[in-house]
């Protein structure tokens, strides 16, 4: 028997034919396909029993009730809570995306101590004990050096128990420098004080019941203010209900308004007076309110016998023709707007809260309040509502000598000083103050930041960053690695809002006295702690009267005590409405004569004549000189871009149009007419220059922008958080510059002069 090559060939043939009759080739082919269907690196979400838990979103101040779908200890999906009085089920994209913050890469997972250069982002993880003792050690030393008043706290809100704890901490420690970040609330607070005599009360607008909303630049549908509330109010807009939007740019709100009135920016106050003129002239105002509950409508005589001009005389000169010349709107349009407004069943005029850049223009705000007063729509359903926050059941703070002396010192931001006696917080002024001081006299030696990201959100942000960087000791309480946390020496990370308890006060601008409770939905994912607990611990470890002022076991105990009998409802329903109805007119006003003051006698004005007290229209100059900046830059808010302390989560960035952000380049919007003059075409790259800085941008031509205006989206150009948002576009705050109202110190600029040049 000879075995040769052919035998082996045959053997191979046998093997080949045989194996085709076995499962090997077929099963392996099938199994490999199945393997591709279950790649080990593709996650398989775990199943389990589903529960829905109610809580409140706190990523912005909108206070929307949400429900969270959870499986075991995993939060899966967020939806609007249809039975929550604020948003009634409506929710903005940020709310829907907030799980990306819970589990996302920008979370600060443990307490951190800075190791590298300030701002380098180099930190080391430390224990909570170490972190708290380091902070209290530094604060103790500062206090012992007699500089307790140089501790400042920047907070995103001054309402709610956590800001209250910070205020209390500063009180007990001995510093007057609790600073809330600027907001639309500032001007309303002052207007409410001047016209109604209220201090520390909320001004809201009952948009749900209003039948005619005259919005002076409010981004009602652009995600500013209380988005859930505003969207929900709009969702009920059916036949017969009208929204009129006054704004130089065709925003999302303007696009959905029945009428868009592109008044020149900064002239909104004149338009309000023009509307008032028509109403007064035609006797369309609410005579009952004007005669019974108002002061200063007609000319009046003071105790000294001097005759003063009333509101009626003031508006007399604001004829539609004159206002048309100021605003650039058609005179007939103004006339008919006024008539429609006055004749509507429940008209309301709104401004301030929801603007992307709330220009704290006191005249405009007073004029808008006056419009509501004219039609008798104050503290009425569908009108402007004034209400107080619930009072917390908290004992008096205990102060030692240092505390008493420290809190009596002037504030670092000059608010409440002789210069700006009626202002409460002036964060916009702080950077200049800090830049002007040398290291030793720095009025802020230690800074605590909670619920805010001032390094990013403060206008002229590069100067602000440099100014804050001068502060020797910065503590951030941020849950996320934001720009301010990145600059801090110590980060004491707060829980994500789905991990801990927190009360949520009535959102600004919402006409409802409602407080909600944000409750944990999942266990804390990382080694974070509720900021309320941390501030109590820091106070304790400082000891003395400071420790005594914080007698609570923990924050949750404090929260329960603070709300007393309301707490049960709060925890059961997730919210509590603490005042069902606003005060009637006869009890509504806290002015000397108990009436609504069309003439604000208390106004701290630049001049002493009637016109400087009355809300006359005054042309506002914006920062920058006209020769170099022929254009005006205004920021705009997009509902798809979070523009506050918290940056966009990846999902929101995914929704941004390619003509707003493409790769790392941001697009500014200009009118094609403006573009022609500058020889710019769609998609061109250009350099924008303002007094605050310059940036490379691309050009998007949009007919809906007033010629001469450059509109830039707010909320981009982050340098922190994560790679999903950092280094994308330009921070508009880096190009803006605040301009202080002479009497109030608040930023009254509506924009900044800018030039645009093809790159």
């Amino acid at each position: 028997m000879k075995i040769d090559r052919r035998c082996f060939l045959s053997l191979a043939g046998g093997l080949a034919v045989g194996h085709l009759l076995t499962p090997i080739p077929w099963k392996i082919t099938d199994d490999i396909a199945i393997w591709t269907q279950n790649w080990p690196w593709t996650p398989v979400p775990e199943t389990g029993p589903v529960t829905w838990k109610n809580t409140v979103c706190t990523l912005c101040a909108g206070g929307c009730g949400i429900k969270v779908r959870t499986i075991r200890d995993r939060a899966i999906k967020i939806e609007g809570r249809t039975d929550h009085p604020v948003n009634k089920g409506s929710l903005c994209p940020l709310g829907y995306a907030s799980l990306q913050y819970l589990y996302g890469p920008s979370r600060v997972k443990t307490p951190m101590r800075r190791t590298g250069e300030r701002g380098s982002g180099q930190f080391e993880a430390i224990s909570w004990d170490e972190a708290i003792s380091e902070v209290s050690g530094k604060l103790d030393a500062l206090r012992k050096n007699g500089r307790a008043h140089t501790l400042a706290c920047i907070s995103g809100s001054d309402k709610g128990t956590v800001p209250v704890l910070f205020k209390r901490f500063l009180d007990a420690y001995g510093s007057p420098n609790f600073i809330r970040t600027p907001s639309g609330r500032d001007a309303h607070e002052i207007a409410a004080y001047l016209a109604q005599g209220h201090k520390d009360k909320n001004i809201g607008f009952d948009l749900e019941n209003a039948t005619f909303i005259l919005s002076f630049g409010c981004g009602l549908l652009d995600g500013s203010g209380a988005p859930g509330y505003q969207f929900n109010a709009y969702s009920r807009f059916d036949k017969g209900r009208t929204l009129v939007q006054v704004e130089p740019r065709l925003s999302n709100t303007a696009a959905r308004a029945k009428k868009w009135l592109p008044a020149k920016p900064g002239t909104e106050g004149a338009l309000a007076l023009g509307v008032a003129h028509v109403i007064v002239k035609n006797g369309l105002y609410d005579a009952d309110f004007i005669n019974g509950y108002a002061f200063g409508f007609e000319d009046w005589t003071d105790e000294g016998g001097n005759i003063h001009m009333g509101f009626k005389s003031l508006v007399n000169e604001y004829t539609p023709q004159k206002v048309s010349a100021i605003t650039g709107l058609d005179a007939n349009a103004i006339e008919s707007l006024a008539r429609d407004f006055a004749r509507a069943e429940k008209p309301v005029a709104v401004c301030g809260y929801n603007e992307c850049k709330p220009s704290a223009n006191i005249d405009k705000t007073l004029a808008v309040h006056a419009l509501n007063a004219l039609v008798g729509n104050i503290n009425q359903a569908g009108g402007m509502i004034v209400f107080a926050d619930p009072e917390y059941a908290v004992s008096e703070v205990r102060k030692d000598r240092i505390a008493t002396e420290g809190t009596a010192k002037p504030r670092a931001d000059m608010a409440g000083t002789d210069r700006y006696p009626q202002s409460r917080y002036l964060l916009d002024l702080l950077p200049e103050v800090l830049m002007g001081a040398n290291e030793n006299n720095l009025p802020v030696q230690a800074l605590m930041v909670t619920g805010a990201n001032p390094v990013y959100t403060t206008e002229n942000s590069e100067t602000a960053r440099a100014a804050f960087a001068k502060i020797p000791f910065i503590v951030s309480f941020s849950s996320f690695m934001d720009e301010t946390a990145k600059l801090a020496d110590i980060i004491l990370p707060d829980h994500h809002f789905l991990e801990g308890y927190r009360d949520v006060p009535a959102p600004d601008g919402v006409g409802k006295a409602v407080t909600s409770l944000s409750a944990p939905v999942v266990k804390p994912q990382y080694d974070t702690r509720n900021t309320g607990d941390v501030i109590i611990d820091i106070a304790r470890s400082l000891g003395g009267t400071i420790g005594e002022s914080f007698p609570w076991k923990d924050y949750d105990t404090f929260l329960k005590q603070a709300f007393k009998e309301h707490y049960r409802d709060l925890s059961r329903n997730g919210y509590v409405i603490h005042a069902e109805k606003p005060l009637p007119w006869d009890r509504a006003f806290a002015t000397e004569n108990g009436k609504y003051a069309f003439y604000p006698t208390r106004r701290h004005a630049a001049g002493t004549d009637d016109k400087s007290r009355l809300p006359a229209y005054r042309e506002l100059d914006i920062p920058g000189d006209k020769a170099n900046g022929t254009l005006a830059l205004i920021p705009y808010k997009s509902p798809r871009i979070a523009a506050g302390a918290v940056a966009n989560p990846p999902f929101m960035t995914k929704t941004i149009d390619a003509n707003v952000l493409k790769k790392e380049m941001l697009f500014i919007q200009i009118n094609p007419e403006t573009a022609r003059g500058l020889n710019l075409r769609q998609g061109d790259t250009a350099v924008i220059r303002t007094p605050a800085g310059e940036a490379r941008v691309r050009v998007n031509l949009f007919d809906g922008v007033m010629p001469g205006i450059v509109a830039m989206p707010a909320g981009l150009g982050h340098t922190a958080f994560s790679k999903f948002i950092a280094d994308k576009g330009v921070n508009v705050n880096a190009l803006l510059k605040p301009s202080a109202d002479p009497a109030y110190g608040l930023n009254a600029a509506w924009g900044v002069r800018a030039s645009l040049q093809k790159a």
Partner: protein, 218 residues
């Protein structure tokens, strides 16, 4: 047919030819050997290579539990209020009874010591586990069509000891899905097979339609 007719004359004539017949048989024998070897390897060796035996964390005694509970399978494998099915019980559910060792069974002791006391979920092997892309709901089958558990899961409920569990090394699937018989012929060894075609066949039989894709896939 060839266009190169001259090539035929070029045929080599020195091809090896002696003992042609015998060599042919030898060649055939080699072919048969190869063929047989393949068959043997493919039908016997291959399944053992493709699947690996995965030991059960606990050798669970269904029969014993069935005697102790009131509602048969439903006592531990139950429907939730939303109609979803709980599947294998979680540690918390077992803990209702097994807070401490109650009997003398070493498996129970192991369960209490290694899982209950350490608060660790038991990594049960699920014989009928379907991949993530399959949507399967017990409700239409059990509540709608009135099928009993054994119809798909075999007689696991009366077993005193868990049957072996094997995992496909490539796909990670339980061997029960393809079926223990490589040929997929004959009665299944333990429980009905669960490849897609098995679902489809039953659906066609019972509902006249295999259903659309989304009926069973997500």
């Amino acid at each position: 047919m060839s266009t190169q007719t001259d090539n035929t004359s070029n045929t080599p004539s020195n091809a090896p030819s002696p003992k042609k017949g015998a060599t042919g048989w030898v060649i055939l024998a080699f072919f048969v050997i190869g063929f047989g070897f393949s068959l043997l390897g493919g039908w016997v060796g291959f399944p053992n290579m493709l699947y690996k035996e995965v030991p059960h964390p606990i050798d669970f005694n269904h029969a014993l539990h069935m005697d102790l509970v009131f509602d048969g399978c439903n006592s531990c494998h139950y429907f939730r209020a939303d109609g979803s099915f709980s599947g294998a019980p979680t540690l918390n559910e077992c803990r209702d009874c097994h807070q401490f060792v109650m009997g003398t069974d070493p498996n129970e002791e192991k369960f209490v010591e290694e899982y209950v006391l350490q608060d660790k979920e038991v990594p049960w092997n699920i014989f009928a586990k379907q991949p993530d892309n399959v949507y399967f709901s017990h409700a239409p089958h059990v509540k709608g069509a009135g099928m009993d558990c054994a119809a798909c899961h075999g007689d696991i409920g009366t077993s005193e000891s868990l049957r072996p569990y094997q995992e496909n090394r490539i796909t990670g699937y339980s061997r029960d899905i393809w079926g223990w018989e490589m040929s997929r012929l004959g009665e299944p060894k333990y429980a009905p097979r669960m490849k897609m075609m098995d679902c489809v066949n039953c659906h066609v039989e019972q509902t006249d339609s295999k259903g659309s894709c989304f009926q069973c896939h997500k």
